[in-house]
Subunit: 132 residues, 2 copies
């Protein structure tokens, strides 16, 4: 059994065959996004060294950056104590993980005074990201 298979065997996928996967900027530590992986996408991630998720809405493998160019190069990848979450430290190509054109997807911040505030700038117009 190779080492990739050994690693994947430690993961406890949920009833839908998925595990939550966090992508974190390897340099700044900023949490970029949370998406989902099935066993195939986790295997491809480890083989290619780039994040491959499973799109729940499209029900298919989703090689991050395939349309936007905003690929995520894996530097480290780990699972948690009970094996039901993945954490990947990545280099975010283009500096944009979010489909809204922001660096991180976690830009909708709780504000005791206002409820929700937008805490991050749009770095690139989403239309420009996906029309290129």
């Amino acid at each position: 059994m190779n080492h990739i298979t050994h690693f994947i065997d430690q993961v406890k996928f949920n009833a839908d065959g998925l595990v939550a996967a966090i992508a974190q900027d390897a340099e700044s530590g900023e949490v970029l996004m949370l998406a989902w992986q099935n066993a195939d996408s986790l295997r491809l991630t480890l083989e290619k060294g780039e994040m491959v998720y499973f799109s729940r809405s499209r029900q298919q493998l989703w090689h991050k950056g395939e349309s936007s160019g905003h690929r995520q190069i894996v530097k480290n990848i780990a699972i948690d104590c009970d094996g039901d979450a993945v954490l990947a430290q990545v280099t975010q190509i283009g500096g944009i993980a979010c489909h809204t054109g922001r660096k991180s997807c976690f830009y909708r911040q709780f504000s005791p005074a206002q409820g929700v505030i937008d805490n991050a700038p749009v770095l690139k117009d989403p239309k420009a990201i996906y029309d290129e």
Copy 2:
């Protein structure tokens, strides 16, 4: 409608009424753990300023640190672009988030040479954490 309710209304809970919640060390940026919250636990988190999760195994609210003392003081909390994940920056009391006595739960790292390696020390014997 108060601001906490306004924030919670932006969250898309899954079919089980839960949302994935990431806790990140507010100072170092280290990702500490991923657990789950229902609307009640997210509300309590915002009201108390400490992380309250929902334990799927025990099917009840789980105020982090209630038995270990390792509470998580919330500094910032945000949701992602599609509202199905929560990211909290926290001060981790005791410097230990994991029930194994490690700082972070994400210590089982992929190694191309060995499969899985343990990348973090046990800072405190789990027996000592829960017997105190």
